[in-house]
C-alpha cells in the first residue's frame, strides 16, 4: 500500500440492479419509500421512473473497494452527494459502474475518489473515501 500513486485505479466493477434488488434493499435497510418499487407512485410525484435508493448506490459503491482494502476497518471516512438518481426500469433494470481511483496520498492515509455512473450519467458527486494506510 505504500506505493500508491495518484491517479491509479485500484478497483472497478459493474453492478446490475433490478427491481428485485430495490425490494431486497428496502427490506434490509427498512427504507420502504414506495418511489423505490411502485411505478404509479413514482409517476405521481413527477419522477422519471422507479429510483434506486441513494443509500443503495452509496453502499454498493464503497464495497467495490473492500476486497482491495482487505479490511473494511481501514475506512476512516466516506461521504457522497446524491446528484442524479438511478432509474431502474422494470424490465431492463440499470447498470451502475464504479471506478475507484487514488486522489491524495499522505503519510498514513489516502483519499480514494469513486466515479459512479449509470449509463452516461454520473449519479454520485464528491464520492470520497479516506482510508488508513
Amino acid at each position: 500500500m505504500s506505493a500508491l500513486e495518484v491517479g491509479e485505479v485500484v478497483a472497478e466493477r459493474s453492478v446490475s440492479l433490478t427491481r428485485e434488488s430495490l425490494v431486497r434493499y428496502a427490506g434490509a435497510s427498512g427504507d420502504f419509500n414506495p418511489i423505490h418499487y411502485r411505478d404509479d407512485v413514482a409517476a405521481r410525484v413527477g419522477l422519471p421512473g422507479v429510483l434506486a435508493h441513494g443509500m443503495l448506490t452509496m453502499g454498493l459503491a464503497v464495497e467495490t473497494l473492500v476486497p482491495w482494502l482487505g479490511d473494511s476497518g481501514r475506512i476512516l471516512e466516506y461521504g457522497v452527494r446524491f446528484t442524479r438518481p438511478v432509474v431502474v426500469d422494470a424490465e431492463e433494470g440499470a447498470i451502475v459502474h464504479v471506478v475507484a481511483k487514488v486522489a491524495v496520498v499522505q503519510e498514513d492515509a489516502a483519499r480514494i475518489d469513486l466515479t459512479v455512473t449509470s449509463g452516461e450519467t454520473t449519479v454520485l458527486g464528491k464520492a470520497q473515501v479516506r482510508i488508513r494506510l
Binding site: V15, S21, R24, Y25, G27, A28, S29, G30, D31, N33, V45, G54, M55, L56, M58, G59, L60, V62, E63, V66, P67, G70, D71, S72, G73, I75, L76, E77, Y78, G79, V80, R81, F82
Partner: protein, 146 residues
C-alpha cells in the same frame, strides 16, 4: 421549517443489537461479496469478534434518529417534501455483529433556501461501553409549505 432546531440535541435512541443474520442480509442487499461480511471465521481472521457490517450499515442506526426528527412536533419537516442531498460517515471502527449501539442526534445546521431549508444532522453512534463507533451526517433538503 423551524430555524430554532439548530443546536437541538435529542435523547439517545434505545439500544440496537446488531444481529449476525441482519449483517448478512444487509451485505447481500448492497452487493458486499467480501467474506468478512458473511463468514464469522473470515472476520475473526481480521481480528473482529464476528461478521463485519458493510460501511453504510450505520444508516440503519442513524435512521432511528431521523424518525425522532420527523416526529418532532415543531420541526416543520415532512418526509414527502424532503430530499436526501448528502451523506457522510466518520468511523472509529466498523460495526460488528453483537454490537449494542445507541445513537444521539443533534442538529448542527439549518440554512434557509428559498421557501425551504438545508438541514444538517449528526448522529453519534456509540457502543455499549460508551465508545464512539461512527458519526453519521446527513444533509436534507426540506421543501417549504406549498
Amino acid at each position: 421549517m423551524n430555524p430554532e432546531l439548530v443546536g437541538r440535541v435529542f435523547p439517545p435512541t434505545a439500544p440496537y443489537l446488531v444481529g449476525r443474520e441482519k449483517v448478512r442480509e444487509f451485505a447481500r442487499a448492497v452487493f458486499a461479496d467480501d467474506p468478512q461480511h458473511t463468514d464469522a471465521a473470515a472476520a475473526q481472521a481480521l481480528g473482529y469478534p464476528d461478521v463485519v457490517a458493510p460501511p453504510t450499515f450505520a444508516m440503519v442506526i442513524q435512521d432511528l434518529t431521523l424518525q425522532q426528527l420527523l416526529a418532532e412536533p415543531d420541526s416543520g419537516i415532512a418526509l414527502e417534501r424532503t430530499i436526501h442531498a448528502e451523506q457522510r460517515f466518520r468511523y472509529s471502527r466498523p460495526i460488528v455483529a453483537g454490537d449494542e449501539l445507541t445513537a444521539q442526534l443533534s442538529i448542527s445546521g439549518v440554512r434557509a433556501m428559498g421557501k425551504g431549508a438545508m438541514v444538517t444532522s449528526e448522529a453519534e453512534i456509540t457502543d455499549a461501553a460508551g465508545a464512539h463507533v461512527v458519526t453519521a451526517t446527513s444533509v436534507l433538503l426540506v421543501g417549504g409549505d406549498e
